[in-house]
Symmetry: C2
């Protein structure tokens, strides 16, 4: 349970930064090398590497070094963690609305 909470914390912390979301947006188009990723982002390679480390620890991105080139790709596990958290909130909220609806639909006691 605590591990799950830590995972959720890492994923939402990672997605809370606009540069890291821009990296995830770019990677959802397909795998790309770190240097190609850095170019349009207009930040240093060192900053990109730091963001990638946070994204990798959160399970949103996977990087792999082949020869001298490090390639990044999206890791769907991290997105699922965020999606599940949102879905759980929505589902609880919806159940409450449904209960309210049933209550309002009940005839008044006579």
């Amino acid at each position: 349970m605590h591990t799950q909470q830590a995972t959720i914390d890492r994923v939402f912390h990672a997605l809370g930064d606009p540069t890291r979301r821009a990296i995830v947006e770019k990677l959802s188009e397909g795998p790309i090398s770190v240097s190609h990723l850095a170019k349009p982002l207009d930040i240093t390679l060192a900053a990109v590497v730091q963001h990638l480390q946070i994204l990798e620890k959160s399970g949103l991105v996977h990087t792999e070094k082949v020869g001298r080139v490090r390639t990044c790709r999206i890791e769907p596990k991290g997105l699922s963690v965020a999606e599940q958290w949102i879905e759980d909130r929505r589902s609880l909220w919806q159940k409450r609305l449904d209960r309210l609806g049933h209550f309002l639909a009940e005839p008044d006691p006579v």
Copy 2:
């Protein structure tokens, strides 16, 4: 388009903080007054109010003052923004995998 980007930024920034996520978690069980919300969170009322302002601006929470009591409830619009962003990333990534699958399934040219 820029407004949409600003909304996404606000929602993910709001969800990036563990206390704000704890507030959303609590509110998905049902509406609650600000003072009741503050109690189990073990932070000052002023800090809760600050977090609520960020959550309200992002469209994740709605607060309303009736008499002397301010009540908070979840606002599903904000959750939908985050969900849609994740869904868009997943869908792009899935399309890419499908194209790869079709490519690999094609017979070799003879």
